[in-house]
């Protein structure tokens, strides 16, 4: 690792101010992506701003039809939350399948969506459930938040503070994990929400995306057979040593059907 300064502010305002005062500042949440990247010298930070002491950023609350998860809430806490298991079991299940126990004890929802790894699980939940991302400056809808591979609508120094999920009528997440890392080779969230049926895919393309054709078909008939044969062209999908674009395209259909079957 290159050297860096370290700050652990107690308030959101201080965190934002510290970021603004430096050219190459990095927020640190769970560190499960940032620390490996710093170790490999893929990234340099003049100052690392640890969000761990900012109490307002952590925690889970459910009020009415909304589940709100603070940015620095770790995956293990989402997975174990009795409130989330009751309100959105698919979200708790998704969190319980991220990485491994040690990663889940550190990694956070804010870090995961800010990083927007193409194979990360949370983007499928945020887009599939039609969540809203709250930042230090504004609110951003899920459909506008994820803009490309490792790219989001966040501006430099803009901090994710929390994510609010409207409680769906029903939802399920199915993932075909990389057997080593557990990252999604393909992961599909299917949700029946007040905004309509939503189908969001992670792992397959450069960035999470929805499949309008499947959403329309499921609106007419919410059964697995309704989406049989609705194909995503492999031309836009990722290919690597784990899976070809064609195989990923196939897996999208399989995972989506399984998610519908699990709900139905």
């Amino acid at each position: 690792m290159y050297t860096f300064d370290y700050q652990r502010p107690a308030t959101l305002a201080d965190a934002v101010k510290l970021h603004g005062a430096s050219d190459e500042a990095s927020f640190l949440a769970g560190g499960q992506t940032l620390i490996p990247t710093l170790k490999q010298r893929l990234r340099h930070a003049s100052v690392v701003i640890d969000l761990g002491a900012i109490a307002d950023l952590k925690g889970i609350s459910v009020s009415g039809n909304t589940v709100t998860v603070g940015a620095t809430t770790c995956h293990a806490d989402v997975a174990a939350s009795a409130d989330i298991k009751r309100a959105i079991p698919a979200l708790a299940a998704l969190a319980s399948g991220i990485g491994d126990p040690q990663v889940r004890n550190c990694g956070t929802i804010g870090g995961s969506i800010a990083n927007n790894d193409p194979a990360a699980d949370y983007p499928a939940a945020v887009v599939g459930l039609g969540a809203t991302v709250h930042t230090s400056k504004r609110t951003i809808t899920a459909d506008d938040f994820f803009t490309g591979m490792f790219e989001t609508a966040l501006e430099p120094g803009e901090l994710v503070t929390k994510v609010s999920f409207p409680v769906p009528r029903r939802a399920a997440y199915m993932k075909f994990p990389n057997p080593a890392s557990r990252y999604a080779i393909v992961g599909v969230m299917v949700a029946d929400t007040s905004m309509g049926i939503r189908v969001a895919v992670t792992g397959a393309g450069p960035c999470v995306f929805r499949i309008p054709g499947m959403e329309q078909a499921l609106t007419k008939s919410f059964v697995p057979s309704a989406i049989k044969g609705i194909a995503v062209p492999p031309g836009d999908l990722n290919g690597d040593i784990h899976a070809t674009p064609e195989y990923r395209a196939h897996l999208i259909g399989v995972m989506a059907e399984r998610a519908v079957a699990m709900i139905g």
């Binding site: 860096f4 370290y6 560190g31 620390i35 170790k39 004890n105 557990r182």
Partner: protein, 160 residues
């Protein structure tokens, strides 16, 4: 350099570290606690697993400064001070839960965390294997480890 205070295995320890110093480096190189191993140094293998405020983490993927003021338990804090093995350690010996032993400190720390997390609920083979996703072993094929954890968990909860 930054001065940090850690509560390690119940005792307060201070160390001078750089912000970029990893928790595992402090434990091994500054505090002489070499039971915590570095296998991959890339967040994959779990040999460096310790408990931070009671939860398992990979000490190669955690800055020492992040642990300032917090409780750290390493493998050295698991046996009784007189050397009597913890029931989980005894189970690893009894059930061939190790061969070369390199992964063992991390395995035992993960095993203790999983018993804690599933308090009151049975630890069946499927659960144990799922919970071990963050720990790699190049020797045993895992079978002895899984058996050892089941036996250690039972011994800890008085079930046998």
């Amino acid at each position: 350099m930054v001065k940090i205070v850690l509560k390690v295995n119940g005792a307060e320890r201070t160390a001078e570290v750089e912000p970029r110093t990893l928790l595992v480096e402090v434990l091994r190189e500054k505090l002489g606690l070499t039971g915590t191993h570095v296998g991959c140094d890339t967040s994959q293998c779990g040999a460096c697993t310790v408990h931070l405020d009671g939860r398992s983490i990979k000490a190669c993927t955690f800055l020492a400064v992040q642990a300032d003021g917090r409780n750290v338990t390493t493998i050295e804090g698991v046996a009784k001070p007189d050397g009597t093995l913890h029931p989980m350690q005894a189970a690893f010996r009894e059930h061939h839960g190790l061969q070369c032993g390199f992964c063992t400190p991390g395995m035992v720390m993960s095993a203790l965390a999983m018993v804690e997390r599933h308090k009151g609920k049975p630890l069946d083979e499927t659960t144990i294997r799922h919970e071990l996703e963050g720990n790699l072993c190049r020797c045993t094929g895992y079978h002895g480890i899984v058996k050892a954890i089941a036996a250690g968990a039972a011994a800890m909860t008085g079930g046998g």
